[in-house]
Symmetry: C2
Subunit: 256 residues, 2 copies
Amino acid sequence: MTDAGRQAAVPPGRQPGEGKPGRPRSAPKRHNGLSTREEILQAASRLFGEQGYAKTTTRQIADTVGIKQSTLYYHFADKRALLVSLLSSTVTPALACARWLGERDLDPVVRLCALVSFDLDTLLRDRHNLHVVYHLPELETDDFTPTRAAQTVLRDTYRDFSRAALASLHPPREAAELAEDMDLVFALVEASVSQRQWGGEENRFRYATSALRGSLRLLGVARADIPDVITRAEQALADYRAEVGDPPLRSGHDAG
Amino acid sequence: MTDAGRQAAVPPGRQPGEGKPGRPRSAPKRHNGLSTREEILQAASRLFGEQGYAKTTTRQIADTVGIKQSTLYYHFADKRALLVSLLSSTVTPALACARWLGERDLDPVVRLCALVSFDLDTLLRDRHNLHVVYHLPELETDDFTPTRAAQTVLRDTYRDFSRAALASLHPPREAAELAEDMDLVFALVEASVSQRQWGGEENRFRYATSALRGSLRLLGVARADIPDVITRAEQALADYRAEVGDPPLRSGHDAG
């Protein structure tokens, strides 16, 4: 579960200003290839990590990006909204993918494998040093309790998918016994957040591949069947990504 | 590995003043049952987490504990020594246990299982909110590179123990394939650090039990053999703890 510890998220609200002429644009490319919105999130994440959440002001964040405070407020209501948005950036996509997978007629083992693979990709794509942001002490205060809700939903989805997968693989008593340990699948995925500390993209990708196989091994999938399950899961995800227009990470698009 | 992400440690130096009459004592019990040294570590951990490492001064830490700064300096050379000590508090005991286990004539699977069990106990025993301290941005600076060394040694020890266990369980080609994923065992153990966020000691203990079984399942230990391996590992650990005078966590001694 998450040493990794995504402390979750609330569903994101409407993205202000997107596609509206005459307003500050949220998507224009700047010299570093990031939108203003992304630059704000990047700066906020860095400052929260370096000096804490309480000590960081929206003025500092705006100054770091080189924009007016009014531009920052155009994109985010307040400092709290910035933190919530950082946290939701990993959980919301996984929840949407899980919903889509849940509506498809998929083998339960393939369905769980697809969720694990998608979630790992989302976490690897992280450009915001979330392994620091996730551990801000403020997240343990009541003020951020609602941001836990989405992560709890995601964890519960892992449990549901795992139970269905176990039921398709094992007799009932064995499936029930194995189900006791199924939070480990979530833990392996979340643990990928901290892979950054071991240095290098290569290590993170290697970990993700291991975690995918490891998840299937924890379920009790026979070793010989693992490659086929992964292939079918990636096929399902290709369909999903094509539908929502989300590029796969491992093509290298967004890995920086 | 380690989402969990202990960022490691250097071996602890001599503990100043222990058992020396006429000097500040490091072990006397205070009203809260902690030694002065433990109280300093506790306060440092909290302040590092709340306001960052850079902003925290040794004067603040001393004031929080209610001691003179000279008393703090009696126990710790400087602020950096405090952080290093916090980090080493989880890695050093596991390394010592691994060394002991490596010198005993144990089944390689039992040996790895004992290391996992001991390490999980050490992490559960954590009273210092290390899941926050481990993620201080300062740890990524060169100044703390040496503190990574001990954690790398521990990760390598997990790899060595895992390879020996795999070789005892599988034919060579299968063992080599499974060895690619053996950092997952370390990841599962480290992920226990973040269990705290899911609330309650009970959940953390449940996770530790799952992680122990999960580690054996990742190795490919047959389900029916898992209880026996765990029993034998706990027997070995009982011998070790009796020898070094370290109480088992699960007796409830230190779980607060």
